[in-house]
């Protein structure tokens, strides 16, 4: 070994060690935003995060079914369990908010608050109701009832309220509070949120940390379990609903799948390499991506600041292509007469394969999806480093074995024999290949890209059952759309929310709508209500006053009994400050719909924005009104799952089409530049066209749906398939010796055994990953071996130079 060689190897080692040092310090970011294309969709998702929708956990307590029916009354044990659980969760720093009970005496605070703001809360409909109550007949009836109430058991402390609100106007406005409940079927009993049958009690809490992270979810789940253990009374059980059980179920399924399948894949791969190559050092080939990854991760963190966990996971998978470079060098060097050298032909193939692969990932850098860009960057740097490592380390490793002999030589002879028979049945083979391509092309239009990430979700049977019971108990079984008003000021955001509500009123689409607009009108609507209120009393007060006095006298009161009410009407009404009810007794409901958030991307500092959500059933009947709101209300964004899914699908589809086309053009250009002839270019592309056709055909036969996993692994399959074509074509052009055939086969089999086994996974994401590789490589490999040579000119000599 020369000193130059030693220095270069030490340099490689140093860079790798530095990479390891920095890469272990990289903090991973599990932000789902990284997986969404384009700023618009990311903005939508951020709104949901800011509203707390993503981190919310619902806990439905339930009396065991064998408990006696409580006749619709909440059991003391149930309420006690809810109180204890709420208190225990609230004591944990892991939860930013826990709602389990309205504060004691909330009703009285609420009535007092509503009475104060009656002039700005009462709308046209309320004024019509007031007008009815003021008709002489109803007036007399109401005053008579007041007289009875005052003299009843419950009337000893009612004097003040009856004097100040003899007609019960406050009660009319109280009905507006039903809009806070939306489609939820809950009643409030002693401040607790109880189902109609009294057998269920609802609590909800917000996690301080993102629940899309499996680590956070596991921690939070444990804390909830601990709290449940010390809070629930006998006969009370809990069901946990929200993103938390889904995150846990997915993590558990993936863990279970990998626990079963990874050992199988590793054992299969190791056995294959050992048996086929009869050299334990060949195992180092598999380790190449792991040596290449650390410097790539460190550079990724340096360039992007934060590293997406998704990008890292898939990026490392893509580095698996690096194994192929190492395998080709190993096989090439082991079969060379002068060992420890990479031949000129192999060098050319390696450079070309590297360029085409890097080109594919360079194009992926243009993706709208942030995680895709990071993935591409990681792959480019990692594969570059993997090639360098393989180039420097593998020849020496393989060369020490000397010339091919024994089992290895026999394998090489076998590969050569395969080539010798390759030209037999040429027309039949070409026809079969063309048929596969035609079938792939024919099935392409039937494919549909499903952007709904829920297709990759695998809730367990118990999670599904809990959700079914939850929906049956509490309602809300319809898809929901969120209309989110955003503004930098509280008053402005409430004005926008009012515009949303007014459109819903005009279109008569208020059924099961959850809105703050009735309780928290914005300044503009408050002003309008106030003007109406003043006009209402200006027109009526003079006539109404003697009628009220007369009704009072007729029903046993003094003439001046209700003077406090008349005096109150004369007071200048107060405008309601936006925060009037925010910290009041209804905070649990308001907090779900009203948020103040920090928007770090705005300006240079920590600018605040205010968000108000209106929840609308996302059904066909509301489709037009939601479109209208989105179109006509500036500052309001409609977050509808159906609309969102369409947008994700369209954006991702567009992204994939654009990038795939560009990558294809560049790969063709590189091949053309290298070969300058059509046949070799077609030969190179044959495996990748087969893999694309096979993947399309398989997807069409299994439902026609593609998801993000198909797209990501499709990129890897394309990279590998093009490489297969390059090595085979170069091998054929330089006078078939079987090395490339053997190396491609080793690569394909190791890839199939490593990734293909994931096709047996339960989790849809892993399954899609495995199946894509199985089908894609399963088609590309035989195409490279049996079709690519046929597309080239038949070699003059078929002598194998072994």
């Amino acid at each position: 070994m020369t000193s130059r060689s030693i220095i270069s190897k030490l340099l490689l080692l140093a860079v790798t060690l530095v990479g390891i040092y920095f890469s272990v310090q990289v903090k991973l970011d599990e932000d789902a935003l990284d997986m969404l294309p384009g700023p618009a969709l990311q903005g939508d998702f951020r709104l949901l995060q800011q509203l707390g929708m993503i981190n919310r956990v619902f806990i439905s307590l339930e009396l065991e079914s064998d408990r006696p029916d409580a006749e619709g009354l909440a059991s003391p044990d149930l309420l006690l369990s809810a109180r204890l659980l709420g208190e225990n969760l609230a004591a944990s720093p892991s939860f930013s908010d826990v709602f389990y009970r309205l504060p004691q005496g909330y009703e009285f605070h609420l009535v007092a608050g509503l009475k104060k703001y009656l002039p700005v809360l009462a709308d046209n409909r309320d004024l019509r109701r007031f007008k009815e109550l003021m008709t002489p007949e109803l007036l007399r009836e109401k005053i008579r009832q007041d007289y009875l109430d005052l003299n009843s058991l419950a009337g000893l402390a009612m004097r003040q309220q009856i004097q100040q609100d003899p007609l019960g106007f406050t009660g009319v406005v109280l009905e507006k509070l039903t809009a806070l409940r939306g489609g939820m079927r809950l009643t409030i009993r002693d401040g607790f949120f109880v189902s109609g049958d009294g057998k269920h009690c609802l609590l909800w809490a917000e996690s301080s940390t993102p629940l899309t992270s499996s680590a956070n979810a596991a921690l939070l789940s444990q804390q909830i379990e601990d709290a449940l253990a010390v809070s629930l009374k006998d006969g009370v059980k809990a069901r946990i609903i929200g993103p938390l059980p889904h995150t846990l179920a997915n993590a558990n399924t993936i863990r279970s799948d990998l626990g079963k399948l990874l050992p199988v894949a590793v054992i299969a791969l190791v056995l294959f390499l050992l048996v086929f190559l009869r050299d334990w050092r060949a195992l180092l080939l598999v380790a190449m991506p792991f040596f290449a990854a650390p410097p790539a991760i460190a550079l990724l963190a340096l360039v992007y600041g934060k590293v997406s966990a998704m990008a890292l996971g898939f990026g490392i998978v893509l580095l698996g292509i690096g194994v192929d470079f190492a395998v080709h060098i190993y096989v090439g060097c082991r079969s060379e007469q002068s060992s420890a050298r990479i031949s000129k032909d192999l060098r050319k193939s390696l450079i070309m394969a590297f360029l085409t692969t890097i080109t594919v990932f360079a194009v992926l850098l243009l993706s709208k999806v942030p995680a895709h860009r990071q993935m591409a960057y990681l792959a480019i740097v990692g594969l570059s480093w993997a090639l360098l490592l393989a180039w420097q380390l593998i020849p020496g490793l393989a060369g020490k074995r000397g010339c091919p002999s024994g089992v290895f030589g026999a394998r090489l002879s076998g590969a050569s024999g395969l080539i010798n028979h390759g030209w037999q049945l040429r027309p039949f083979k070409l026809l079969l290949w063309l048929l596969i391509l035609a079938a792939g092309v024919a099935s392409w239009p039937s494919l549909h890209y499903n952007g709904d990430l829920r297709t990759l979700d695998v809730p367990s049977a118990s999670v599904k059952n809990d959700e079914r019971v939850f929906l049956k108990t509490w309602g809300g079984d319809q898809e929901q759309a969120f209309v989110v008003a955003v503004a930098p000021e509280q008053g402005k955001v409430l004005d926008i929310n009012d515009q949303v509500y007014e459109i819903l009123v005009k279109e008569d689409r208020l059924a099961e709508v959850q809105s703050l607009a009735t309780l928290l009108p914005g300044p503009i609507r408050q002003g309008k209500n106030l003007l109406r209120w003043q006009a209402f009393w200006q027109q009526r007060l003079t006539a109404f006053r003697p009628q009220l006095e007369q009704a009072a006298i007729e029903n046993g009161f003094t003439r001046q009994a209700f003077q406090p009410f008349i005096d109150w009407l004369a007071i200048e009404p107060a405008s309601m400050e936006p925060g009037a009810f925010l910290d009041g007794p209804l905070r649990p409901f308001i907090n779900s719909l009203f948020r103040r958030a920090v928007e770090p991307e705005l300006g240079s500092g920590r600018d605040e924005v205010f968000l108000v959500a209106t929840v609308v059933p996302d059904n066909r009947q509301n489709s037009d009104v939601l479109k209208r709101i989105n179109r006509e209300v500036p500052g309001a964004t409609v977050l509808s799952n159906s609309r969102w899914r369409q947008k994700v699908e369209a954006d991702l589809k567009n992204d994939i089409h654009r990038l795939f086309s560009l990558a294809a053009l560049l790969v063709i250009a590189i091949c053309t530049l290298f070969f300058r002839r059509l046949r070799p270019v077609i030969g190179v592309l044959a495996p990748v066209t087969s893999s694309l056709a096979a993947m399309a055909l398989f997807a069409a036969l299994t439902g026609g749906e593609l998801n993000i996993m198909h797209a990501l692994m499709g990129i890897m399959v394309i990279g590998l398939s093009v490489d297969y074509g390059i090595f085979i074509v170069n091998s054929c052009l330089s006078g078939l010796d079987g090395r490339a055939f053997m190396a491609v086969s080793i690569c394909a089999i190791s890839t199939l055994s490593g990734f293909g086994v994931l096709g047996f996974a339960t989790h849809p994401a892993l399954h899609a990953l495995g199946v894509t590789v199985l089908v894609g490589i399963g088609a590309a490999w035989p195409t490279a071996l049996f079709i690519t040579p046929l597309l080239l000119a038949r070699p003059a000599s078929k002598e194998m130079g072994i």
């Binding site: 619709g72 009354l73 909440a74 005496g105 009703e107 009285f108 609420l110 009535v111 009832q145 009875l148 109430d149 005052l150 003299n151 009843s152 058991l153 419950a154 009337g155 000893l156 402390a157 009612m158 004097r159 003040q160 309220q161 004097q163 406050t170 009660g171 109280l174 009905e175 509070l177 009643t187 409030i188 009993r189 002693d190 109880v194 046993g556 009161f557 003094t558 001046q560 009994a561 209700f562």
Partner: protein, 219 residues
């Protein structure tokens, strides 16, 4: 929430006290030698021995919004632990029934209104106080009131919390010196309004028909 009214628990406090005191038949008073705690203990002890009772009452309200005092009379029935009927007979019949967590309110010619203590905050407060007193735990209310025992014996309650003080300034209960039963209860409100309830004709441990606590109809 539609029919919410301001809290009336203070008024019910009086009522509850009355209920307890009406049960105190057996004791012979030695009030001159009793301290406040002893007196309350004796009342509590006596009330615990009663399973049911009924009596007549007269309520007179002296409110500034009434041109003259308004007198209502009726009958109170109670069966431990959680059944009560407060019935006005004259001049305007009306009934309030509490039965466990459920209840009825009705007046002549008006609809029968059912309520649930879990859902009706006012009646929940009423019942909470009532059951506390009837089960002999009325000492818990000492957190909310100052108690004073005067010769007579007369028990005077003054609310110590702001909320209570806004509705009631003082409650004065005059006891039968021999039987420790209240003869009258006077509730004074800030501003001078007051209510006086007088009791008579009480019967202890009587068989009360179950329908009394499930129907509004008069018996």
């Amino acid at each position: 929430m539609k029919h919410l009214r301001l809290p009336i628990f203070l008024a019910l406090f009086i009522f509850c006290f009355i209920v307890i005191a009406l049960g105190s038949f057996s004791a012979v008073a030695e009030e001159s030698s009793l301290g406040l705690d002893d007196f309350l203990g004796r009342v509590e002890e006596n009330s615990a021995s009663i399973s049911s009772f009924s009596c007549d009452f007269t309520q007179v309200r002296y409110l500034t919004i009434f041109p003259k005092p308004v007198q209502f009379s009726g009958r109170l029935s109670l069966a431990k632990p959680d059944k009560l009927r407060w019935e006005f007979v004259e001049p305007l019949p009306s009934v309030l029934v509490l039965n466990g967590k459920k209840g009825l309110k009705c007046s002549e010619g008006g609809p029968i209104r059912e309520f649930n203590l879990d859902l009706d905050p006012v009646m929940r407060l009423v019942a909470g106080q009532l059951w506390a007193w009837t089960s002999g735990t009325y000492r818990d209310l000492k957190d909310d009131f100052d108690f004073e025992l005067l010769p007579g014996p007369v028990l005077v309650f003054s609310p110590v919390t702001n909320g209570a003080a806004s509705f009631i300034s003082k409650i004065r209960v005059v006891f039968d010196p021999d039987l420790l039963q209240p003869l009258s209860v006077e509730i004074r409100e800030p501003g001078g309004d007051r209510t006086v309830i007088s009791f008579s004709g009480y019967q202890r441990d009587v068989d009360l028909p179950a329908a009394l606590f499930t129907e509004c109809r008069s018996r």
